[in-house]
Point group: C2
Chain length 409, copies 2
């Protein structure tokens, strides 16, 4: 008998039929002798419907009220899912974030979890009930409703799993697990049986949507075993685990691409202390999150600075940068929205040299020009022309032989 | 400067345009120098949408979970209305039933209010904010979400008005106030400038949908001034007030009709103590609410008993009564779904005799047969054939001269 936290996303509870299907799966887990805590998202489309209503009323909705509105999506789901479980003869009880008491700070729409009270959940489990908890939402010290940001239900699940000391946190999604690359793009992509927290954080940050990066960080910090799997099949999915020596033998675990960024370059900037701070300080003040930053070698006291921003913030960022360019006497501001970021990720890079060089060579062989490069200990990202994104993923997948299961050591 | 509670129903906040319209009205009230507390219902159709989802999952949804689901309707409304008020430059803050702390008992889907905590509302008003409160919902001592039953937002408004000692509780609806009869039916129907609590309770119980009867009882008990008026016009509506001697001069204040009941008759019942208790005990155990009961004079030790039940419970009730009829050796069980109840209401009846007799004569003159009669101190109700309902209301309206404003005494 284990204590299992299961998280079902919006697609898994998208309509009454799917809610019934999920209920059956939950009851089976319970009848197999496990204690079960379920975290559920809003029905697919519901959060967008509520956002549309709010933005029809005002362009700049107050974050506190937005949270009051958005939190209803998950509240409907927990009620409906509890009813579906009860209809199968099992006992279930729903909990909002306020009722569990998932205490957060007051950063509405992007709150951070401070503490999870598990007393009421424990009590429900002790009484033989399945606890159904609203994902994505919490409550601050003033009893105000807060939300955790997009993908926040993953975080709720992991935080609950940590708090109740669950044996595993199962994240149910509409794919079979974490793949070496997007299977729609690369037919030979392979489901990974295991992946390290670090790799999963990089993949999630780099465009893989299967799991929220903050949730993986939380899981890593509290050593929560995460199992990413499909709500539509019985196959085992991908386990997200602590790194072990065996895993370092795999140089590249996965390849992602991301078309959600745009590139801005400011040319012939005077190479003087404080210029970059001014530039990126101003951009940050406008609420624009900068991802990659590249500064070229200084020539005759001038340098070029390139960086990427979310495409949705591109025009706002361009306007700010044009203003600063005039102030600091830079030459030009160039923008490019048609870019893609292609990344390879793997803990084995730490101990294998030449991985980045091989990536550059593979792309060069296909005449794909690299505009920007960014590396960390376990990933290499290249910004390329958007039209080459799919080609790049495919040739890299081939070159690093990701279709082949690595040999057991 | 007054303290005003305003309640807006589902039609008044039925879409984004109407929410904006209501927001303007609220802000004008605030800018006129008043403190304003607003109670709001779910957007029209939302409660039914949520009920449909729940009943698609199960025929017999658990009341606790139903309340969790239904309470989201008002939670969306308070958020959207707060945003609309803020968009007009005023300050607003939303409160769920849990946040205010509208404490109820644990009778889910039909909870009774036990206490209203006004500290947070007071605090919001002191800070210059308009408090926007979710109607229809509360919280029990175990922090579980409860709802107050259909029309419960009226009760929320009146209870809040009593608790904050508001100068007036304005109930906004889609009609101009309380009429002597349904204006769609009787073109000469007149808006009543004033009506007593007792009359309003009778009218609401007898089919007038403008205000929930429980809310009026609460208002009467706590002496809350209620003003029923239209959210689509500036005209004064109807004040619901304590009776004063002046008001007794009006014999009949209003006429209602109700087609939501059905009649059941059980014939040749042995006239013996305990039979009626057994019959109605069994019906009550099945959750069927009986309205009128008429028992004829006993002949040769037998009697006929007729009573009315909601049409939605007619078949269930018939089945129960057929079972009992066999047990107690009654003759027949007769059912009739095509009935209507027509009622005249007025505090003046207490001091004027012959009112019931006049009603019977007026109906007889039109050859309308009376099947059942029920009276209270301030009302007379007759059950007639459904097809005569509109005709009966019109001829009674004429006969009691309700189109004429009564003379000031």
């Amino acid at each position: 008998m284990a204590l299992i936290v299961q998280k079902y996303g919006g697609t898994s509870v998208g309509d009454v039929g799917r809610i019934r299907h999920v209920a059956r799966r939950i009851v089976e887990t319970r009848e197999a002798g496990n204690d079960v805590v379920v975290v559920v998202s809003a029905m697919a489309g519901e959060t967008d419907r509520l956002l549309t209503l709010a933005y029809e009323i005002t362009d700049a909705p107050d974050d506190r009220e937005l949270d009051v509105i958005l939190a209803t999506g998950e509240q409907v789901s927990i009620g409906l899912l509890s009813l579906a479980i009860q209809a199968r003869g099992a006992e279930a009880r729903s909990f909002t974030g306020t009722q569990v008491r998932i205490l957060t700070d007051s950063a509405h729409t992007k709150a951070r979890i401070l503490n999870v009270d598990v007393e009421r959940i424990r009590q429900a489990l002790d009484e033989g009930e399945i606890a159904i908890v609203a994902g994505f939402q919490g409550v601050n010290a003033e009893d105000e409703v807060t939300t955790l940001g997009r993908g926040g239900s993953d975080l709720t699940a992991v935080a609950l799993a940590a708090a109740v000391k669950a044996d595993v946190c199962e994240i149910y999604t509409d794919v079979e697990g974490v793949y070496t690359a997007d299977p729609d793009l690369v037919p030979t992509a392979r489901k990974l049986p295991r992946i390290t927290y670090e790799e999963m954080i990089e993949l999630a940050s780099l465009g893989a949507t299967v799991l929220q990066a903050r949730a993986v960080e939380y899981a890593k910090n509290y050593n929560v075993s995460v199992h990413v799997r499909s709500s539509f099949s019985r196959n085992p999915g991908t386990l997200v685990v602590q790194e072990d020596p065996e895993m370092e033998k795999v140089v590249v675990s996965g390849i992602t691409h991301d078309k959600k960024e745009a590139k801005i370059t400011i040319t012939r900037v005077v190479d003087r202390p404080g210029i970059a701070a001014k530039l990126f300080g101003r951009v940050a003040d406008a609420g624009v999150v900068v991802d990659m930053i590249v500064q070229n070698i200084s020539q005759d006291g001038h340098t070029d600075i390139s960086f990427t921003v979310p495409r949705t913030d591109f025009h706002k960022a361009m306007e700010i940068v044009r203003g600063i360019a005039t102030e600091i006497g830079a030459d030009q501001v160039l923008g490019d929205e048609r870019i893609a970021k292609v990344s390879i990720v793997g803990v084995g890079m730490r101990t294998h040299s030449g991985v980045a060089a091989k990536m550059f060579a593979v792309l060069a062989a296909k005449n794909i020009n690299i505009m920007m490069i960014s590396t960390s200990e376990i990933k290499v990202s290249c910004v390329i022309e958007e039209k080459y994104a799919e080609l790049a993923v495919r040739v890299l997948h081939d070159a690093f032989q990701l279709e082949t299961q690595p040999m057991a050591g």
